[in-house]
Symmetry: C2
Subunit: 385 residues, 2 copies
């Protein structure tokens, strides 16, 4: 398994395109194959989520249509109608039932979708569908909201490939977020198998990614198998995990206003479950996040976050920072004199690992997150205005 | 029951004082009586918390010594020794066992306490113990960290009074925070009764107060009964609840960098428990908090926060803002055209009520919180430097 350069169109048979006009975007992907999805756990699910969940029951799709700028959430019956209309707009052009289409939306909640705009732009997007590098980038950009860069991944597993695209930025929390991700492969699996493997991969990637602890109404991760390549389940799962973790890290790195990608790695917990919980609590702590923004190696806040994680912890904890070099801050409860060294490490690092050992057992877990900056506040205080 | 002007010394027999020098503060209270405490649920408990929990087992105390600037947390055996030494410093002067002293600390984690400084200042603080207005204010100020104003309350119930002092500011979350509160009454109750009533009051006041979701290692709420006045349990509980709610709101209002006190009131939930959970989720949402800072009536984020609260909700929700005037935003799922009116209300309000009705049952609950501003980030990015 190795990462390769390129976007979703590296999978044979994928054609896509997209446009962005101000805050509005429209993207289309043509993809025939078995499909499975994982969706937001928010009780209030956006109309496109409800329609897609229904459409995926047949297990095979023909295409994807996604818009940015409006979430089509909390929009009642009109919202459902508009989400179906989006499916029809693509289905008419592909010559298939609207039931074979996945629809996704991201953006502001509680405003009716401007379907007229989507209708008027669908023609040109459809005409531009392509399988080159430019086409995959155009789609990646069309679904961005407050994202500052498009997020793509490609992984090679023997003959087969797995490719993916995602958007994230704000509202990213454990149990997903306003996060859309579409993943493709030419490895041959049934919808049922795809679903099982996708759940496992999402659980250890997007679901351990924290930007601000909020969970959106619109989250969706889709996995589509278009091809006939044979790959073992085990190899595929490994590749899928790597692809999802890579996209999840890109999302954390591009957290609204973030200046640092934070990877929290907890070892020595009583169980993996506790280790993941502890890691998530550290990655979620506003006090930890603001300290890291200020390049302040305030490990006391890490200790406090561990203490209220509900995990079995005592003062016998080890904490280190790693970014190229490694600085140990606390070793089995002993406080080391490393404040200025740690500060220097923080000042120059854009990607930081926080390594924690609880010395209680063999449980391992991790979480991805980012720091909390002035810009997070600015972006979110001024979103609708 | 009515609120009256004044501080903790309104309860007869209470004498106190305090000093603040830069980031360091020292406060002392002389108070003979039955006592009960509620403590942080953080697994990593600061040394003064551990010592006080032990000392309170006898159910009666003679005095309180508290310092600010250093939390004496994650300080191992030396920390315990220093917390006991603080008790002794006061016990020697009061002529009692150190076991009769409550000790509390707030401030930075993981640095050894400067007991020398406390020892050298204890004499002057003790000499200045008084029962006037100035003395109670001096104590209230001595325990402040990033607080911007001292927090006091006094309530009259018939002949008796309940008075309280608190410090809060950052790290305030459901299940308490770096929050210290000392409450006094001349109503006569046993330590056992005080404990039961305190738990109930804390559960509906400090425990529903959210500043940033972090829970500190040092939280403590103490209730001391010094007198012989007779008050019914029911009346006392009501008075105690009011006093705690008043202090909790002051803490929320003074949340680090906060510009607005937010009171979330949820009705129509399936149960009170669900209503409290929903209210807390709204008060904790960073997206809601940043929107309110930006005076943006983005009720979509309130809906999203309700959706992932785990409570029974659907789109039939009503949401209104109240600050003097009342603006309805959503009525039984119907979106009302009130954006500019709501924005105006937000712009001029320092105290905002968010009223939510889930239309599912009779459950009621509430939470206190504040908005999230640039200053929260500034304060917490630069704390130890």
């Amino acid at each position: 398994m190795r990462f390769i350069e390129g976007g979703i169109t590296l999978v044979e048979g994928i054609r896509c395109s997209g446009i962005k006009e101000g805050k509005k975007g429209l993207g289309i992907i043509e993809c025939s194959g078995n499909a499975a999805g994982v969706f937001t756990k928010n009780r209030i699910k956006a109309a496109p989520v409800l329609v897609t969940m229904e459409n995926l029951k047949a297990g095979a799709i023909r295409g994807i249509i996604a818009n940015s700028g409006n979430a089509n959430a909390f929009t009642g019956e009109s919202g459902i109608k508009n989400a179906k209309r989006m499916c029809e707009i693509l289905a008419e052009r592909l010559g298939c039932s609207w039931r074979k289409i996945v629809v996704a939306s991201t953006g502001i909640i509680g405003e009716q979708l401007d379907v007229g705009w989507i209708e008027s732009r669908a023609g040109v997007v459809f005409e531009n569908l392509g399988s080159d590098r430019e086409s995959s980038l155009a789609f990646a950009k069309s679904i961005m909201t407050t994202d500052t860069f498009p997020k793509e991944v490609a992984v090679e597993i023997g003959d087969a490939v797995i490719t993916g695209v995602a958007k994230g930025a704000g509202m990213i929390a454990p149990n997903m977020a306003t996060m859309l991700s579409f993943i493709f492969t030419d490895a041959d699996f049934s919808g049922h198998d795809l679903k099982k493997m996708l759940i496992r991969a999402v659980d250890r990637s997007f679901n351990v990614t924290v930007v601000d602890g909020d969970t959106s109404t619109n989250d969706m991760v889709l996995l589509v198998s278009t091809g006939q390549k044979k790959v073992s389940r085990e190899k595929f799962q490994r590749g899928l995990n790597s692809a999802c973790i890579n996209l999840a890290k890109q999302i954390a790195k591009d957290g609204e206003g973030a200046t640092k990608l934070i990877e929290v790695i907890v070892e020595g917990a009583r169980s993996d479950k506790e280790a993941f919980k502890a890691a998530r609590n550290i990655a979620s702590s506003l006090l930890v996040k603001t300290a890291l923004f200020g390049n302040d190696p305030n490990w006391g806040r890490i200790i406090a976050a561990l203490g209220y994680s509900g995990c079995d912890v005592d003062e016998c904890i080890s904490i280190a920072f790693e970014a190229g070099a490694r600085v140990e801050l606390v070793k089995r409860g002993e406080i080391l004199d490393a404040h200025s060294e740690a500060r220097k490490l923080l000042e120059k690092s854009k990607e930081l690992k926080i390594l924690v050992n609880l010395h209680k057992g063999n449980g391992k877990g991790y979480a991805f997150g980012c720091d909390l900056s002035y810009d997070y506040v600015r972006i979110n205080a001024e979103y609708t205005t």
